[in-house]
Amino acid sequence: MSCGIEQELTAYIDGELSTGQRQQLESHLAGCVGCRATLTLLRHAVARLSTLPAFEPSPRLRREVFRRLDSEPGGLLQRLRQLFRPVVLVPSLGLVTAALVAVLLARVPGKELIADPAQLELGENLELVSDLEVIGLNSLEDLEVVKHLHELESQP
């Protein structure tokens, strides 16, 4: 197995060479004892492989494959059918309807949610609260001073 065309011998056996390549190889084989010997060895091995008994899978293989297949969701069409079958569709439509009603009711004028008045007041004065925190007025006494600041200003 020393010729440079060795790789072509396997492709030749397998019928994978073009007509030109095959003719070229056959010309070479006519004058090369080594390549003819290699070709014989390769052909013999390939022929022996064809005598191997067939591998027969056990019946268990089929059972297992189809058992597992039963738990598979199926193709697109089958999945759509699954999705739109009554047992899924009716409760789903009920949920969607309930959600739509809730949204519509929430948008009716005069039906806004009534929040805690204290929370609303805090929200309105949030800016003031944060300002007081920024300047470091945290205690009730400080806030009392701020509340009566205008009285102090009016005093001479």
């Binding site: 492709a11 091995a45 492989l49 591998f55 899978p57 056990s58 494959v65 297949l69 697109l76 069409l77």
Partner: protein, 196 residues
């Protein structure tokens, strides 16, 4: 578009037709199981791999395009699965000892008593082939198996392995030479008169 009866069945599988899948399964189960067996060298593990391959085939039906020949698509799924499982360490290729007679079952007929010499020769050949397959690289083993046992042309093997035809030619050549050396050496070692 490839005119392929199997491709038409595969399109039905994509629509959820399990009867079409059963037809494909029955047509290809022996090939897939044999491919897996040649790949790992162990019957039980080969059947586990074959199960997974068919389930993957079913799941991938939606992605199947009729431009690819079905058998090529099937063995691409099979090749990727086997290579991935080996890389993940899920399977080891069964190594075969020189004098391993205990695990010579698998493909073998059970008529040892009828033709003992022929059965012995078949067992020996089987052992030699398994050893040679185990010594190949994974890609050599895939290419060799698809070529020698499934009869696939280099172009389709290249598609299954996602490589060039030139690469397949090289893989198959190296594997065939290695196999030929093994088979030749084993035959020389057998005493004259022991062949059927």
């Amino acid at each position: 578009v490839v005119e392929d009866a199997d491709a038409a069945l595969m399109l039905k599988v994509a629509a959820g037709d399990k009867t079409a899948f059963a037809a494909l399964y029955d047509r290809y189960q022996a090939s897939v199981a044999r491919f897996a067996y040649k790949f790992v060298g162990d019957r039980a593990r080969a059947e586990e791999l074959a199960q997974d391959i068919f389930i993957k085939l079913y799941r991938s039906a939606n992605g199947y395009q009729q431009s690819a020949k079905f058998k090529t698509f099937l063995f691409r799924v099979a090749t990727n699965h086997c290579l991935n499982e080996i890389r993940r360490g899920e399977y080891q290729v069964t190594q075969v000892a020189e004098n391993d007679a205990a695990d010579g079952r698998g493909d073998l007929p059970g008529d040892d008593a009828v033709q003992p010499e022929a059965a012995l020769a078949a067992k020996q050949l089987e052992r030699v082939v398994r050893k040679a397959l185990a010594e190949m690289s994974e890609r050599e083993r895939v290419a060799f198996t698809l070529c020698r046992f499934e009869g696939m042309p280099y172009r389709e093997i290249a598609e299954a392995l996602s490589c060039s035809e030139a690469a397949v030619k090289s893989l198959i050549h190296r594997a065939t030479v290695a196999m030929a050396k093994r088979v030749g050496a084993a035959q020389e070692a057998v005493p004259a008169g022991s062949h059927a």
